[in-house]
Symmetry: C3
């Protein structure tokens, strides 16, 4: 069994942002030498998620507007700690914080429109995604 | 390490549909010869998801009615591209697009009521699910 | 390849509950002897989920209050079967029923605040989580 672990760091200039990390994941798969296996991409900070969907600017804006309706900024009990990002924890929950990308014949085995995104809900600070590949 | 990759194709007659694919996954696990490992089931098209829940007709209808409330058909920015399925991208996000099924002693290690469903939100065209098994 | 499979049993005294199972997962990773791999934690009963987020009492209460808004108790078609837990099936869907925890250098490779929770939406009966570890 082969494995590779790496970390992608992000420090977005905006509070909310979405970054296409498909190329980064592909680069690490190639580096790993794994031909058949799984590539886990998981946001390590609890106010960010991973989204596998379409690289289309309108849809990406739809995502944030829709999440704002379902998990709006507001008064959360979490804010008694001095934090103000309760909504970001819930937005991460809806998007989910990770995805497994299958690796087949040495490449990401994604659908024709599937792209992998890091979705930030509380940016302007350093945050990390773990990419872990196992296989053969 | 052993691995097996296969693709399930769907072309539902309805826009919204839900198909129990537990048997298909079990068949592929058997074919793989893997006794201990993981079976990834992942919808490759970005308007469909994978749901692990109960094979109960009422609940399956509840799922669609509830998703329609949380991610209704409507006017999305995505529709400026000529598409009309913005809601389907968001419904996929809520259901999540994939699940990992554990394999123990050569069988899917599911709970007593867990069944695996392909959930279609924009059907009437050919779509694919990747099933990828790794283990030993 | 090494593997380990174990099951955690829960019987919460309350209908809704949230239990930090990070230590249990860590213990099993150590027991497995796996240095590089994946640890799947998956709720086997369809009215419970797995949540990876912050160990902060206010936020945990926020989670339940927010889920009650998005997937409220109510009249579901599922209740025609005699059940009354339709909302719990939908809450599990939002939280998602599983997470993959990366294992690096023999330890859970989680972010600084990431903790792993079993989230119960229909307790007061025996329920199970499967923990499955594969790697080397």
């Amino acid at each position: 069994m082969k494995s590779l672990t790496d970390y992608l760091w992000f420090n977005t200039s905006k509070e909310h942002d979405i970054l296409n990390i498909t190329g980064e994941a592909e680069r690490l798969v190639k580096k790993s030498g794994v031909k058949e296996g799984f590539c886990l991409v998981s946001a390590m900070h609890i106010t960010a998620g991973i989204w596998v969907n379409d690289e289309e600017p309108g849809l990406k804006q739809d995502l944030f507007e829709w999440l704002e309706k379902l998990a709006p900024k507001g008064n959360y009990r979490h804010h008694h700690t001095g934090e103000s990002n309760g909504d970001a924890h819930l937005k991460r929950t809806l998007v989910h914080h990770q995805a497994i990308l299958p690796i087949t014949d040495g490449k990401l085995d994604l659908g024709p429109w599937e792209q992998v995104f890091y979705v930030e809900f509380d940016g302007r600070r350093k945050k990390r995604v773990v990419v872990k590949i196992i296989g053969e």
